[in-house]
């Protein structure tokens, strides 16, 4: 039974419950109709039927009120006698009208129609159907929970006793004795079993008081009672002992559960609600319908049994309200969607039925037209509705890449969690609120036999439990596991590459701060300590240019050497031109450079090259009185060589004020491991600079040394 249930989705279980209800009610209707029926006047109570004078007890609705098995057996015999009278073609009946007048008439029995069934008959069907559907509902959503299972069992047995009773309690005069006895026994079986389930319910809900195997105890004890009852052992009706005992035991267990739940306010609040309705319902039934005749206070119940059965539905109404308010059985509002779904399904089939009945009435000409309309309009529409109701989309992870990226790159953890839930909701449409799972599994896995899907924790996101795939219309399958695993993996990949990127950013940041420290800082310090005003300006200008370059080029680690020489050349030419000095920096050497234009140099090299050229240019403008400057640039595998030649009057290095910048130039060149030589020519000055291409920053060298 449970194995079979496990393979059904919640809505399939619900539909099964609806089918059982339909079968039970149909059986009740089929057992009630087509029996001999007399068209007695309204409110007439028969006193003589054919040859038989009626006794007071012949018309009672519930033989249990007779109290003993012998009296019941006698009752069934008299029912048989009466039923035989009704099979004759004509029956003379003496009856008393509601105003006390007695009349006699001859009646022709006719088969009982559905329309002849009185209201109490339908009322009891309603009680049974409602109980069954609520049972199916709870079972479909909480099939793992022993309390829910017991509750579902109570719901299963309500229709058994109520629908059996509905047939005999609403008979017109009599049923054949054997049929009556069978129905009565069915009623007893249902009522006794209901009681066992009720005791089981309070043993298990909200927390199991004992291991579920102890449920066998009430089953055996009360089961024996029911068996004795079914076999009519002894005199007094066993069931009249069994049912009140069960009610009492359930009450006691309820009190124990109540006491145990004292530290759990929410559970207790839900419990109070549920107890109130279940126990009040059952107690009302027992005290108003079972006890009075059993104790001999009255001949029958205080209210007709047919209506007293309605008390049992209090349990179901209470449960429905309890779920909304207190999450009884840990169900939440989502549980109601199952009802919406069931209503939709029932509506479609009801429409089918109405259409079918209507078609039967149609003459041939309009029948073909109707079929045409049906074929083109109704069936496509119906199919669409069915697909919407029953159809489930296969989860697809592949289309979710943007959403996964959104999750992985969410700026805050809260947002990451929200987006992950939204993504799961969109992909799997679980009916229940997605739960955070503390002890999440390592991998995606199915739990509760397909009701739930468990997801592992991701970086920054805890595990998740989803319940009731596609709004409860299906169970989780291997396709879901695959889709979820893909989502998890995609998230991992995005997250990982993002982290790698962030690590890269942090490495870059370190490099930038080193650049700023080594270059900008050192230059500003030199400017601060430079004595001469114009040198100060020059150093500050260099610093600004470096800063601008760093900003402009987005803090790159390497620069194209050819770009740097291009910038240096243009600036030098512009400045010399202002003072009427020609720069002779052959474009050919630039072309040579472009052959190795892929040569990359670090920022420190760019910075050194530019400040050297600036310093040399400034010196020529200020001191050399030159008219022409020539620059030769050569590149070997590991060295950049620059030669600056001017045709001014030149100088001896020892004659120059060392503070004027030569020291600074030497210092800069030495820092990157290069050399600089000044040589006075007969006419002018030659400066040779050699710079190694693999330049390390000071910090890098310091790090390497450590």
């Amino acid at each position: 039974m449970s194995r079979f249930l496990y393979r059904l989705s919640p809505t399939a279980i619900m539909l099964t419950a609806a089918m059982i209800a339909l079968i039970l009610t149909s059986s009740a209707v089929l057992l009630s109709i087509d029996r001999p029926y007399l068209d007695l006047p309204q409110g007439a109570t028969p006193t003589v039927v054919g040859d038989v004078v009626l006794e007071e007890t012949d018309l009672i609705s519930e033989p249990d009120f007779l109290g003993t098995y012998p009296r019941m057996t006698a009752f069934f015999a008299r029912q048989d006698l009466l039923a035989a009278q009704l099979t004759k073609p004509e029956v003379s009946v003496t009856y008393m009208l509601s105003d006390g007048v007695t009349e006699t008439g001859v009646f022709t029995p006719r088969p009982r129609q559905i329309g002849d069934l009185p209201f109490p008959f339908w009322f009891q069907q309603g009680v049974g159907i409602l109980a069954l559907l609520v049972a199916g509902w709870v079972m479909s959503l909480r099939r793992e929970d022993w309390g829910a299972r017991m509750f579902a069992l109570t719901g299963l047995f309500v229709p058994v006793f109520a629908i059996a009773a509905s047939v005999y309690s609403t008979r017109q005069i009599a049923l054949p004795g054997d049929v009556f006895k069978l129905l009565s026994q069915t009623n007893h079986f249902g009522a006794g079993s209901f009681g066992i389930a009720l005791v089981g319910l309070f043993l298990m809900y909200p927390k199991p008081l004992f291991h579920p195997r102890w449920l066998l105890l009430p089953l055996v004890v009360f089961g024996t009672g029911i068996l004795l009852d079914l076999m009519y052992v002894g005199t007094d009706i066993w069931l009249n002992l069994v049912v009140p005992t069960q009610t009492l035991v359930a009450l006691v267990l309820g009190v124990v559960q109540w006491w145990r739940a004292r530290r759990d306010p929410l559970s207790r609040a839900g419990l109070r609600w549920f107890f109130l309705f279940s126990l009040v319902g059952v107690s009302l039934f027992v005290s108003l319908s079972v006890l009075p005749p059993a104790l001999g206070i009255a001949d029958g119940g205080f209210i007709p049994q047919a209506y007293a059965f309605g008390f049992f539905n209090l349990m179901h109404i209470g449960l429905a309200l309890g779920i909304i308010r207190w999450r009884v059985f840990e169900l939440d509002r989502y549980a109601y969607y199952v009802w919406v779904w069931l209503a939709g399904a029932v509506l479609i089939f009801a429409t089918d039925l109405v259409l079918l009945l209507w078609l039967r009435e149609q003459p041939w000409a309009s029948l073909s037209l109707a079929l045409l309309i049906g074929g083109f309009l109704y069936f496509p529409l119906r199919q669409l509705l069915l697909v919407r109701l029953f159809g489930t989309k296969v989860p697809q992870a592949s289309g979710m890449i943007p959403e996964v990226i959104d999750v992985a790159l969410a700026p805050t953890q809260r947002l990451q969690n929200e987006r992950w839930d939204a993504l799961l909701q969109e992909t799997f449409s679980p009916a229940a609120q997605i739960e955070v799972l503390e002890n999440a599994p390592e991998n995606v896995c199915i739990a509760e036999n397909g009701v739930a899907l468990l997801l592992p924790a991701l970086t920054g996101v805890a595990g998740r439990r989803m319940r009731y795939a596609s709004g409860g219309r299906r169970l989780f399958s291997s396709a879901d596991v695959a889709a979820a695993a893909t989502l998890v993996r995609m998230h991992g990949v995005v997250r990982e590459s993002h982290l790698a990127y962030e690590r890269g950013v942090s490495v870059e940041r370190d490099r930038i701060s080193r650049d700023v420290h080594d270059n900008i800082g050192a230059q500003l310090l030199s400017a601060l300590h430079a004595a001469e005003g114009s040198r100060k300006d020059g150093l500050l200008r260099d610093t600004l240019t470096d800063l601008r370059q760093i900003i402009s080029d987005g803090f790159r680690s390497n620069y194209k050497l050819s770009d740097t020489t291009a910038d240096v050349r243009a600036e030098m030419a512009d400045r010399l031109e202002v003072h009427g000095i020609t720069l002779n920096w052959p474009a050919a050497s630039l072309e040579d450079l472009s052959q190795v234009s892929e040569t990359q140099v670090p920022f420190l090299m760019v910075n050194t090259l530019r400040s050297l050229t600036r310093e040399i240019t400034s010196n020529i403008i200020k001191h050399a009185s030159a008219t022409e400057v020539t620059v030769n640039l050569t590149l070997s595998e590991d060295m950049l060589r620059l030669e600056f030649l001017d045709n001014g009057h030149g100088f001896e290095t020892e004659d120059v004020d060392r503070g004027a910048g030569l020291d600074n130039m030497e210092e800069r060149v030495r820092t990157i491991g290069g050399t600089i030589q000044f040589r006075r020519l007969p006419k002018g000055m030659r400066i040779n600079v050699s710079l190694p291409l693999d330049v390390y920053t000071r910090s890098e060298m310091a790090q390497a040394a450590m």
């Binding site: 200008r541 600004l544 402009s552 910038d567 243009a570 403008i621």
Partner: protein, 217 residues
């Protein structure tokens, strides 16, 4: 003839520095100063300028706003953006947004003066770094639907040579053109940069910080 000059610059020392240079070159011109965008707007509403130097970073806005205001209010103005720390891409964005030239405030004063002196001749300055950035800009925007916004082969050559460090006279020599022809090519490049259909987008992108340094390698 430069008669009226607008300087929009928030750093007072820089303003004085620029005013000194300008009054040395354009001796008869009247120079009006604005320290922020609001003042600049106010002055634009009441005066017609021949030359405007606009700092890219202003306390109450950016130079782009002033450039737009100049475009709306002035009949014939040469708008030059000035910057100390502005990135190459910010400068190219400013040129796309209608600036006629740019000045680096960190350049030596003699260089700044020489650039300013060339303004009446109409040869806008173009450094190798900016030329390379402009090349990238046209390469990234791709073939334009508007032929007016696509560089000719000659213009592309000029741009490429300037980007490799050649000056107008060098370019003229290398391409066997008159220096004035090279100048007019450069002016044309500026104009196309301005009308390039994607210039607006680039300017927006630079403003939003999307066009950062990485050049395609």
């Amino acid at each position: 003839m430069i008669e009226k000059i607008l300087i929009v610059e928030d750093v007072a020392q820089s303003r004085a520095f620029m005013t000194a240079i300008l009054s040395g070159i354009f001796t008869d011109a009247e120079i009006l100063e604005a320290a922020d965008m609001r003042t600049a707007f106010f002055l634009c509403e009441r005066h017609q300028f021949n030359l405007a130097l606009v700092d890219l970073q202003l306390p109450d806005g950016d130079g782009y706003g002033v450039l737009r205001k100049l475009d709306q209010t002035q009949d014939d103005v040469t708008a030059i953006v000035t910057t100390a720390m502005g990135s190459d891409s910010a400068i190219v964005a400013a040129l796309s947004a209608g600036a006629d030239g740019y000045l680096l405030k960190s350049d030596p004063p003699d260089l700044i003066a020489s650039h300013l002196r060339q303004i009446p001749d109409g040869t806008p300055p173009l450094s190798p770094a900016i030329a390379r950035r402009v090349m990238d800009h046209f390469r990234q925007t791709g073939p334009s639907v508007d032929d007016n916004a696509t560089l000719t082969r000659r213009e592309a050559e000029v741009l490429s040579l300037v980007g490799r460090g050649l000056r107008v006279s060098d370019v003229a020599g290398a391409l066997e053109l008159a220096p004035s022809t090279v100048s007019s090519h450069i002016k044309s490049i500026y104009r196309k940069l301005n009308i390039s259909s994607r210039a607006e987008a680039a300017y927006q992108a630079a403003r939003l910080g999307l066009l950062t340094g990485d050049r395609p390698r």
